[in-house]
């Protein structure tokens, strides 16, 4: 499938080589796992979803280092420094997503049974629909289980750093082309893990260890290529697009699990009505346009040749008929609950200033470490292997806390002991004061994040760099002995300008489908107002610094604000320092 995508193929082979080298008992040429006979299934209890049955294919992956590593990666990064109980891991989240994805599939089978059987027969008139459904269900569950296996130390914080590795950036561009949809580096890694020979070989060995007298659970053929496609929100045929939607879309199983899991672990009383979601979810017949032939190439690579229809005006692009995961007007209250949950989680947890402080410090630390490794001659593949073997406990080890670099050791010590930077300035959408227009213009420039190409910085990155550089220069003017350069001064004083990514609800209008009267349900749903209310009043950019350098950084950043934003009023600085 990856003949036209050399960078993705390179990532697959790198991950495969690492698995074989690091875990020979599981993935090597003389692998011994699974050692004993396998039960066809087991049950695992989860505090959110109760008792779930896992098949032998799922169990062999759960019991392998690919999934076990996730036990040691916190789902919400360093949020436990604010919410002490938020210590849940990517591991239980992955099991939870499998459970929810499976329940959505079962609900679709119940709610849209006729459509489901008809579309399977349309794909292949000679098919055994029962066998097909069982295979699809198993592939979907594996995709859900594997969707996060590409995470590294403290989840999304490290993703920001390894996303800068050239090989992964190029692979992400290839995956965007393959999927016909923008894809990030996190999805690249999970997609590539699913395609490693190591995973296929482990599953084959497991099959050979099954007790032949036990007939429970599906034993028919599955295709890991289909699993990989579902991880990136696609499927091998447009009629099966709803499977990709279950794993990766606006209201996917991932979101349905993490909203309740993160809120519950943090102790926040946020809820939504999953039963109503499941009661109402259906298969919506819609078109998938394909103006750039990406989907045509995708389906060909996946081994299917669905009918690609030519446009009939007013339609402008060739298209495929497809089936999508859809919700009716009846589910609107559930959608509202889910969106409120998401916005509140951003406000309470992900964008909490102390969480941003801890994660920003970790990002600076990891960037320093990457520079250190590069200086020692490591290339992109080496760095990829580094990140894919790290868990949260790496901070305690010789690469970080015990590093020969004083700065890396110091930053690691600070994170481990919650000696976190404090907020020096908070800048938000303060539209009422005298400098409101200047602030608006500044915040506006931070939204312009599209760069022309790999070699050019975006407007947003230029502004951030200029702002930080100015602070560094001013620190040196105030205290010339602190460091030899502005960049070093920023590192010593623990300074950065933090610009969080605001929450978005992509594809809302699409997911809600159409009401019986033909009106798009999204038109009746004031979601834009909610998002605006959130972003206008709860979204801030901030300057952080170590407490012991607060006074110096305050003076330096004040000059940077006056020069770059142009804000000078007392009212502005009163509000910006209030927090």
């Amino acid at each position: 499938m990856l003949e036209q995508f050399p960078k993705l193929a390179e990532v697959v082979s790198t991950l495969d080589a690492q698995l074989k080298e690091k875990h020979p008992a599981f993935f090597g040429e003389a692998a011994t796992h699974p050692v004993s006979h396998l039960k066809p299934y087991k049950v695992i209890h989860d505090h959110l979803w109760g008792t779930t049955r896992f098949s032998w294919r799922e169990l062999i992956l759960i019991d392998s280092p690919i999934l076990q590593r996730l036990r040691y990666i916190h789902q919400t990064g360093l949020a436990y420094y604010v919410y002490p109980c938020a210590r849940h891991s990517r591991f239980e989240h992955s099991l939870g997503v499998l459970t929810v994805a499976s329940r959505i599939f079962d609900s679709l089978q119940q709610n849209s049974a006729s459509d489901l059987y008809a579309l399977l027969e349309s794909i292949d008139p000679n098919t055994d629909t029962q066998e097909d459904l069982a295979a699809l269900r198993q592939e979907l569950r594996l995709a859900a289980l594997l969707h996060d296996v590409g995470h590294s130390i403290h989840s999304h914080a490290s993703e920001r750093v390894y996303s800068e590795i050239g090989l992964l950036r190029s692979a992400s561009e290839e995956l965007t082309r393959l999927a016909g949809r923008k894809k990030g580096v996190g999805e690249v890694l999970s997609f590539c893990y699913a395609l490693t020979p190591s995973v296929a070989e482990l599953l084959n060995r497991a099959e050979a260890k099954l007790d032949p007298t036990r007939k429970e659970e599906f034993r028919g053929k599955i295709n890991l290529r289909n699993v990989a496609l579902m991880i990136i929100g696609r499927a091998r045929h447009p009629y099966l697009q709803f499977l990709g939607d279950i794993v990766s879309s606006a209201f996917d199983a991932d979101k349905l699990d993490y909203l309740l899991r993160d809120a519950g672990a943090a102790g926040l009383p946020l809820k939504y009505d999953l039963e109503r979601y499941l009661y109402t979810v259906y298969l919506g017949q819609e078109i998938l346009t394909d103006g750039q032939s990406y989907l045509e190439e995708l389906y060909r690579a996946a081994g299917t040749v669905p009918e690609r229809k030519q446009p009939i005006p007013p339609q402008e692009f060739p298209y495929y008929d497809g089936y999508r995961l859809r919700l009716p007007k009846l589910a609107m209250s559930t959608m509202e609950q889910i969106i409120i949950c998401k916005l509140m989680l951003f406000s309470y947890i992900y964008h909490h200033q102390k969480v941003l402080s801890a994660e920003g410090l970790l990002v600076k630390l990891l960037r320093e470490k990457v520079e250190f490794w590069r200086a020692e001659g490591e290339d992109d593949k080496d760095l990829l292997k580094r990140f894919m073997s790290m868990t949260d406990s790496a901070l305690d080890g010789s690469d970080f806390l015990g590093s020969a670099s004083a700065l890396i050791a110091q930053y690691s010590y600070r994170i481990q002991n919650r000696l976190l930077p404090r907020v020096v300035f908070t800048i938000g959408n303060f539209s009422t004061h005298a400098d409101g227009d200047l602030v608006r213009k500044f915040l506006e420039s931070l939204q312009d994040k599209k760069s022309k190409d790999d070699q050019t910085k975006s407007r947003r990155d230029e502004v951030i760099e200029a702002f930080e550089s100015r602070i560094g220069e001013e620190i040196l003017k105030i205290n010339p002995s602190i460091a030899a350069s502005p960049k070093e001064a920023l590192l010593v004083a623990g300074v950065w300008f933090d610009v969080p990514v605001p929450p978005t609800i992509d594809g809302l209008n699409d997911v809600l489908g159409k009401s019986p009267s033909g009106v798009t349900v999204g038109k009746m749903f004031p979601i834009e107002r909610w998002i605006e209310a959130y972003q206008a009043h709860r979204y801030f950019v901030r300057v952080f610094a170590f407490s012991e350098h607060y006074e110096t950084v305050y003076r330096a950043a004040r000059v940077a604000i006056e020069v770059i934003i142009g804000a000078r009023s007392k009212e502005f600085f009163d509000v910006a320092t209030k927090s």
Binding site: T176, I287, T289, G291, Q292, Q447, K450, K452, E528, E532
Partner: protein, 134 residues
């Protein structure tokens, strides 16, 4: 041909031109925005070094969508640079004071950027023709 405009800069300057030309800018229905950029990219992809070369479109539904365009429009909205008209949020307008600032920013644009903007405006006349109910 060298263009200086970023995607965001282009949207801002185009919004000014559209408002001056009395073209109603839809907000909730974002199809005209995406179609405009898809068509503009088709025309200019091989010309000059612009943000258009690296634009990517999602093929997930009835028309191509650029996440970068969606994000920037949303950003303009919540920073208060554009106003969405209540109660339906169907249309956005650029307030007078913002329009004045954006116009001033556009005064230094070169010929290549102006050419690109005029092409954008021509496409906008067609794409935004019927997106908002009267």
């Amino acid at each position: 041909m060298t263009q200086q405009l970023t995607l965001g800069g282009f949207i801002k300057q185009l919004a000014v031109l559209m408002q001056d030309a009395d073209i109603k800018m839809s907000f909730k229905d974002d199809k005209p925005w995406h179609m405009l950029f898809y068509k503009l990219r088709g025309e200019f992809k091989s010309q000059g070094n612009t943000f258009l070369q690296s634009m990517q479109f999602d093929w997930d539904g009835p028309y191509p969508k650029s996440q970068d365009v969606s994000d920037f429009l949303q950003g303009l909205h919540w920073t208060g640079s554009v106003s969405a008209l209540n109660p339906t949020y169907e249309r956005i307008i650029v307030p007078d004071e913002v329009q004045k600032v954006w116009k001033a920013e556009g005064e230094s644009l070169g010929d290549a950027d102006r050419d690109l903007l005029l092409h954008g405006l021509a496409i906008a006349r067609l794409e935004f023709r019927s997106s908002i109910a009267a």
